[in-house]
Each structure stands twice: as structure tokens, then as C-alpha cells.
């Protein structure tokens, strides 16, 4: 980006604006849609912004048992997710192309999980503990699915750089709607679990015994909580973004249209996915903990189909 | 076939050896043993007379004095000291083992046909037959008798068999060696006899089949 040209800078500003502002909106969309499904008017679309601001202005309470892990986790997670937002191909608007290696992306996500789990254990409360243990269990089941979906795509495009794989000018992937679609579905199912939405976890419940993510952040408050929430929103943005990208690649129309349409459609598709999450949450129920593996099995199955397609693609 | 004289004597020795198997009465065993050894001494002497190897006369004399006189006498005195009349009993009944010994005589005749290398007509089949059957009866004696003293006798009989083999097949080994052997046997019997006393002292019997303390 050494050469100063205005539209590059413009793109960058737009990009930053999007990933800083969009995440709360997504949550707003989800909540609004759910409210509509439950015949409520629901909170305004921008409520999440207000919540964040309110939290930032509150006074913080910290358990005296915690260590520096607890203090720094929120900040670390937010910054990790910001880095991820720059790397990962969650939208087709990428003003500059840093090498978005798929293993790096996965492991950065894992790193955020590492910190989250530790901070949950840090206060030494019972809820944080089992929240953490459930979190790692879910992650364990989901991880292979995610990595296999992305690896299949990468293996077809013969590179592990997602930036290249997801750019619309990669001939190897041009007519692979099946692969893209299945990968998209797999990733979407996986991200339901990763984002601790229904049916893996109920973000709105306040029965601690059933929650995963909420249980982990039970001790956070005020600015700390705000950061955690924002990090979670960012994560929603990125994961939904990646799966929506996959789905977009499945539609041949997008392979030859203008940049602008792509950008808009990618943003729209993310919102659509958010809405569909809301729909799922309103029609589905939270599964029992012991039944979860059966649900995750679907996304793993998707990933296996992807692998088969990838293998058959460059069959020699 | 015509029986050479020394072969006849060898056979006599073999038969005496088999007779030893016949009884568990130790004195009788010893007397049979000395007769058997005398026969062997006679064989030696006779072969000496045939082959004009003078050192064999000396050997014969040595065998007669040491093996057939002094050793039985020594063992007799041992028996007297520890006053054990008869063998405690045999794994195989004495008459049966004697019959076995007789069969062994036949067997050893067959084996002696098989010994590779003994092809020259110089060597006598019957000599080796006798030697081997003596060896076998010694083995039987050692395997079937419980009393320590019968084992000594058995060892002596085996040794006699080997000696007879040497005499009949090779017409005696060098004098020094023969004498060495005699001395060796004498010392061995002495040591064994001394041990015998101690066995009697500390176990109140000489039944070696009960010495089974040492095992894993």
C-alpha cells in the first residue's frame, strides 16, 4: 500500500468502518427477527450499540481471586479478532491482501478460545469452570469440520492461502458450486456451535447450568464485558462472513459481476445468514448436552463430502 | 561264531555287571562288583599276552589291586561303619532291572554293529558289546537305586565299561594315563565314601532320592 492512491485509502476506510460498525448491527438483526417471530416488537435494531456504550460507562467489579489472565483476556481477544478481520476472507471487499493462511486463521480462533477458557477458569467460580469445559468439548468436535471444509477448498485451489482461494478470479474453483455450497453449509452449521447459538447454546437463557458462553463470561463486567461482547460480535461477523462467502461462490452469477455488486451482496448475505440464525433459533430448541455430538456430526459429514469432491477434482 | 577267549572273559564281566543289578543287598553287590572287575583285569592280562604290550600287565595288576580289591574292601568297611545292610529300595524292582540289563546286552550287541569307524577286523564286536552293556548296567544302577553307595558302585561300573572298551578296541591307552585313571577313581571313591559318612551323620539315612532340598 505504499503508493498513495485515493480509492485504496477510501476502500480501507470503508472496510474498517464496516468491520467496526457492522457486528452489533448483526446481533440487532438477530434479536429483532426473533422478536418478530415471537410476535413482539422487540428492542430497536441498534440496541446492541447502546448496550455497549452503557457498559463502557459503568464501574467495573473484579473478583479478587483473578490474575492478569482475566484482566487482559478481553483486550487480547478483541485485538486478535481485529487481526482476523483483516486476514480472513469474510467479505469480498479486501483492500489489501495479507496472506490469510487457513491454518493461521483457525489457530488464531483457537488462540481466542484459549484465552476465553482460561479467563473463565480464572475467577474459580463453578459456572466458569463447566462453561469452559463445555466450550473446549464443543470446539473439539467442531474444529475438524471447519478445517476440513476450508482445506478441501484450499486443496482444490492448490494453495492454503484463503485470500487466493476466495478471490473470484481463481479458475480452479470457478465451476465448483457443489463444493462451495456444501462447504458453506458445513461452515454455517459449525459456526452455529462456535458462536454458541441455538441449538448448541441458548444465548438468552439465564439458567447457568445450561449455558456455555454466558457461563464463561459470568465474572466480566462493565468495560471488560463490553469488550468481550464486542469480541463475540466480531466473531459472529467473521464466521458468518466466511460461510456467506462460500455460499456466494456457489452461485455462478457472482463470478462475473462488478466489484460493487459483490461487496454489497456479501454484506447482504451476511445479514441474511444472521436472520436465518434467528429463524433457526425461533423454530429449533436447544438440544440436550449429550445430543450435541449428533448435531455436530452433520457439519462433519458436510466437511467429508467436501473432501471427497476435492479429491475427485484433481484426480490424476 | 567262535568266541575268542578275552571276548568270553569280557562277556563274563558283562554278566557279572548285570548280576549286580539283581539284588539290593549291598554286600552282594560289592562282591559281584569285585568279581566283575577281576574278569576285566583278566581280559586286560589276556590281551597283553596276545599283543605283547607289556605295560598292559602292569595295568591289569593295577586294576586287580585297586579296583577289585581295595575299593570293594573300602566300601565294605564304609557299609560296616554306617551299618546299612541293603539298599532302601529301587525305583524299578531289582529282578526287573536285571532283566532290563539282560535286554540291554542284546541292545548293545545291535548298537555295536552300528558304531561308525570300527571297521577293521582288529576290533572285536563282542568286546564292544560287553563294554557297552556294562556301561548300560552302570547307568541302570545309578538311575534306579536310592542308596548313595549303589550310585558309587554304578559310577564304578560305568567307568569299568569305558575302560573295557578302551582295552578291547584300542588295546589299552598309554600307561601313564591308565595309572592316572586308576588313581583318579580311587580318590573319587575315597571322597565319595567320606561324604557318605557325613550324609549318614546328618540325615540318618543314605537315601539320595530324598536329597531334594535344593531346587528353584
Amino acid at each position: 500500500m505504499t503508493s498513495i492512491n485515493t480509492d485504496a485509502i477510501l476502500e480501507t476506510l470503508v472496510f474498517i468502518a464496516i468491520f467496526l460498525l457492522l457486528p452489533p448491527l448483526l446481533v440487532g438483526i438477530i434479536r429483532k427477527t426473533k422478536a418478530r417471530f415471537q410476535n413482539r416488537i422487540g428492542a430497536p435494531l441498534l440496541q446492541p450499540y447502546f448496550d455497549l456504550l452503557k457498559l463502557l460507562s459503568k464501574g467495573e467489579t473484579i473478583s479478587k481471586h483473578t490474575s492478569w489472565i482475566f484482566r487482559s483476556t478481553a483486550a487480547i481477544n478483541v485485538s486478535l479478532l481485529i487481526i482476523l478481520a483483516f486476514l480472513a476472507p469474510w467479505t469480498s471487499l479486501r483492500p489489501f491482501n495479507l496472506g490469510a493462511d487457513l491454518f493461521l486463521v483457525i489457530y488464531l480462533l483457537a488462540l481466542t478460545r484459549f484465552f476465553t477458557v482460561l479467563s473463565a477458569l480464572d475467577a474459580g467460580s463453578a459456572f466458569g469452570g463447566f462453561g469452559a469445559s463445555r466450550e473446549v468439548t464443543l470446539a473439539l468436535l467442531v474444529e475438524p469440520a471447519v478445517i476440513l471444509c476450508l482445506a478441501a477448498i484450499g486443496s482444490v485451489s492448490q494453495t492454503s492461502d484463503l485470500g487466493v482461494a476466495f478471490s473470484f478470479n481463481n479458475i480452479a474453483l470457478a465451476n465448483q458450486p457443489g463444493l462451495w455450497f456444501i462447504a458453506g453449509c458445513g461452515l454455517f452449521l459449525a459456526s452455529l456451535v462456535e458462536l454458541s447459538r441455538m441449538p448448541a447454546d441458548d444465548p438468552t437463557t439465564h439458567l447457568e447450568l445450561t449455558m456455555v458462553h454466558e457461563a464463561m463470561i459470568l465474572e466480566n463486567s462493565a468495560a471488560n464485558l463490553a469488550l468481550v461482547e464486542y469480541a463475540h460480535f466480531l466473531k459472529i461477523l467473521i464466521l458468518l462472513g466466511i460461510s456467506s462467502q462460500c455460499l456466494l461462490h456457489a452461485i455462478p452469477f457472482f463470478w462475473h459481476t462488478t466489484e460493487l455488486i459483490l461487496v454489497f451482496s456479501s454484506l447482504v448475505s451476511i445479514m441474511i445468514l444472521a436472520a436465518s440464525i434467528a429463524i433457526i433459533e425461533s423454530v429449533a430448541v436447544k438440544l440436550r448436552w449429550t445430543k450435541l455430538p449428533e448435531f455436530i456430526a452433520y457439519s462433519v459429514a458436510m466437511s467429508i463430502f467436501c473432501v471427497f469432491i476435492a479429491l475427485s477434482k484433481n484426480l490424476n | 561264531m567262535i568266541l575268542d577267549t578275552f571276548e568270553a572273559l569280557a562277556m563274563v564281566a558283562a554278566i557279572f555287571a548285570i548280576l549286580i543289578l539283581g539284588t539290593t543287598h549291598l554286600r552282594t553287590n560289592l562282591s559281584f562288583y569285585s568279581l566283575h572287575t577281576m574278569a576285566i583285569a583278566a581280559v586286560t592280562a589276556w590281551i597283553a599276552s596276545i599283543t605283547h604290550e607289556d605295560h598292559l600287565y602292569l595295568v591289569a595288576a593295577g586294576v586287580f589291586i585297586i579296583k577289585s580289591c581295595s575299593i570293594p574292601w573300602f566300601l565294605n568297611s564304609v557299609i560296616k561303619k554306617i551299618n546299612v545292610g541293603t539298599d532302601g529300595g529301587a525305583f524299578i524292582a531289582a529282578p526287573l532291572s536285571m532283566h532290563l540289563g539282560a535286554l540291554m546286552l542284546g541292545l548293545s550287541f545291535m548298537i555295536s554293529q552300528q558304531i561308525p569307524g570300527l571297521i577293521g577286523e582288529a576290533d572285536s564286536r563282542l568286546g564292544s558289546t560287553a563294554a557297552m552293556s556294562i556301561l548300560f548296567s552302570g547307568v541302570l544302577l545309578m538311575l534306579t537305586r536310592r542308596a548313595a553307595i549303589s550310585q558309587i558302585v554304578g559310577f564304578l561300573v560305568i567307568e569299568n565299561g569305558i575302560y573295557l572298551f578302551a582295552v578291547t578296541q584300542t588295546h589299552g591307552m598309554p600307561l601313564m594315563i591308565e595309572m592316572g585313571l586308576l588313581l583318579e577313581v580311587l580318590v573319587a571313591v575315597m571322597v565319595a565314601g567320606l561324604l557318605l559318612f557325613n550324609i549318614k551323620k546328618s540325615f540318618e539315612h543314605i537315601d539320595v532320592s530324598q536329597l531334594t532340598e535344593l531346587k528353584d
Binding site: - | 569305558i162 594315563i177 561324604l195 535344593l214
Partner: protein
Amino acid sequence: MNDLLYLTALPASLALLSLFIRDVKLTRKLVPVLIWWQLGIVALVLHPCLINGQRMEFTSGLAVDKMGTYFILLATFVVSCCITHADYFFAAAEAHGDAYEDQQLRLFYASVNLFLLAMTSVFLCDNLGYLWIAIEATTLSSAPLVYFEKNKFALEATWKYLIVCSVGIAFALLGTVFIFAASQRGTLAVPTLNISELISQAQTLNFPLLRLGFIFCLIGYGTKAGIFPLHTWLPDAHAESPAPASAMLSGSLLNCALFGIWKVSSIINAAQPHSHVHQLVAILGTVTVVAASLLLLRQHNFKRLWAYSSIENVGLMVFAIGLGSGPLFFLQALNHSLAKVALFLLTGNIIQASGTKKLNKMHGVIEDCPIWALLVTLAAFAVTGAPPFGAFVAEMSMLSLSMTDERWALALIMTVAIAISFVAICAHVGKVILGPAKQGFKKFQPIRASIIPALLVLGTLVLGLVVNTEAWSGPWSMIK
């Protein structure tokens, strides 16, 4: 002839002396000194043979070659080490309260000297008949050593030792007769038992008889050496005799019997190299090693443990003989003697101190007496052929030799068996060494007791670091 006198005079006279000296204390101090002196004499007398390997002929049938010299030196060295340590052993026994009677000790010292005499003569023999006599003489002279303790167990062990070995040896006599017959019925008939003559005209001997003779000698001397199914007397005798005596039995007596086998096998080698009889010997050695290593797994008695490990090493030496490599046979014998003597002596100390032979009653020697523990561990490693000790060199050379000799199946089996025996011995020794202290060791002087073993262990360590066996890699190179 004079040389012969020099070699034998001292032990013979000592045998008589030690019977008649009143004061046993004097004997205990005198004999070791003189036996070390004897070692010097032997080295002096045999130095031409030692240095430029020439054969020394004393009379007809009495001669010594390089290997014989080595073995004589080894035997004398072992005896002098043991007899030196025996002084401490008896002193410790007195300190411990169960002193031995003077008569016992006199007999002990007398028979040790006779034993030495007999062994020396074994290696001097150049005549199968004399060889047989000498080896039987070793049996007879060592019987009193086994019977030293004068209890029931010792008696039983002695009886078995005497009878089984004598019977076995009797077969060796039969074998000797057969070989004599073979020499008579050869193409050019010169009836002789003289080993060097037999070797020189081995081609002309009557081979079937020779082979038969060899097999009988193998059985006979093998019984004395403790080859697997014939080994039954060995653990009893080694376990029941006092520590110095067991050390001598294991460290030098076995070598005599094996030396006999080696002599006879060198005849048959000369007659017909690569005869399958040698295959038989190698297989016998392997079987012995395998059986011993399995038997080692289940031992409850500290001294029987080492007895079985001696059987294993005998198997290795027989294997070396079967490969026809004399130097390796001697190297293995040397290392085994050094390590095993050290082990038996130390074991004797530990048994005296802890008052039991039972392995499961011993523990924590390392707490009570670190130096003994260290030495026992090192010697155990040495005897199981762990590097960098000498036995490793010998075993490795044997294995590679048998590989080059296309006997790789035997080599691989051997490797496994050696590993098993290592594990077994280490398990047992570990139980003895490790664990909480026993507090029984106060009145013993550990340092004085560990001088000789330390020297021996050091010796085998040095052997492992300097010996070069590359020259002996050719299978039949060293027989001529």
C-alpha cells in the same frame, strides 16, 4: 621340566603347609601373598609364550600355547583375588559371630591350593588323557570347597556336584577313547592322544570315530561347564559354597571345562572345518543362553541368580567355540571371570551383612552401603554385556561374526536372549539395591571389602575400552 616344577611347586607345597600350620591366622595372611607371588612366577616362566606366542614344550604331553598361558594367568589371578578377599570374608564372619573352626579353614586353604594346582595342570595338558585326569582332579579338589559350610544343603550340593560331574566326565573319557581309536584307525596309524600331533595330522584321522569322540567329550566337559540340560548341579554348588569358593568355581573352574571343549573342537576343526558338529555346538550354546535367560526371570536366591547368569555366559562361550573363534572365547571368559568374581564376592558381603540369601528379603543396600551398591550395579551391567564393559565387546563381536558366518538366526535369537537376561538381572538387582535402608551393615568395613571387586570391575571396564577385535572378524582365522 624345571619350568613345570616352578609352575607347580608353590601350590603343592602350600597345600601341604596350610594343612599343618597351627595358626590359621597366619595361613590366612600367608597364602594370599604367596599366591600373588605365584602369579608373578607364572608370568615370568611363561613370558616367552606370552610375548611372542611360541609354544612351550615341557615333556611329551605337557605343553602350553598362548591361549593356555592366558587361561593359566586368568585362573591364578582369580584364585589370588578370591583368596585375598577370603581373609576379609572370614574376618567378617567372625565379627558377625559365626566363626569357622580352624580345621575347616585348614581344609579350605589346602583344597584351594590343590584346586589351583589342578587348574594350572589342565591348561598345561597337551594330551587328551592328561586333560581328562586334570579336569576330574579339579572336580575332586573343589568338592571340599563346596562342602565347606558342613550343613545339609552343602552336603546335598556336594553329592550332586560330585556324582553328576563324575558321570559326565566319564563320558568325556569314553570320548577320549574314541579319539584314540580314531587315531589308531586313521590312514597312517600312529595311536596317540597328543593334541598337537592329532591337530597336525587331523586330516588322516578316522573322522566318524573322531566325531563320535568329540560329541562324547562335548557331553562330558559340557556337564562340567554347565551346558543347559546338564547344568543341574551348577546352581546348587555355586549357591551353597562360601562366597570366595563360588567365585572361584564360577570364575575359573568353568573355564577349565570349556578349555577342554575348545581343545577337542580345535582337533575336529583341523580335521574338517565347517563340519555340522560345530553348528551343533553353536546351537547348543544358543539354547543354553535362551534357557538361562528365561530361568533368570524366576529367581529367589541371590547366589543362584549369579549361578544362572554363569550358565548364560557359558552358553555364550560355547557359542564362541562353535563359531571357532578362540580369541572371542577367551575374551568372553576373561570378562565373565572378572565381573562374576566381583559379583560373587560382593554378594557374599551383602549376604553376610543382611543375613539372608532370599532376594525378596533384601532391600536398600544403596542406603546402607552405597559403595557396594554401586559396585554390584556396575558388575551386574558388566556381566550382562552392557557397554562400555568388556563383555559387550565380546558379545558384539560374536554376534557380528555369526552374522558374517550366515548364522543370522542364531545371532538374532542370541540378541533377544541377552536382552531378556539383562532385564531379569536388573530387576532382581534393582530390588536388592533400591528401597529403604536395612541398618544391618554397621560392623562391616565396606571399603576394605570392596577393594578387590572395585579392581575387577575397573579391569573389565578397561577391557571394554581398549580391546580391538576387528582382526578376529574372519570366522576361522584364529584357529591355526
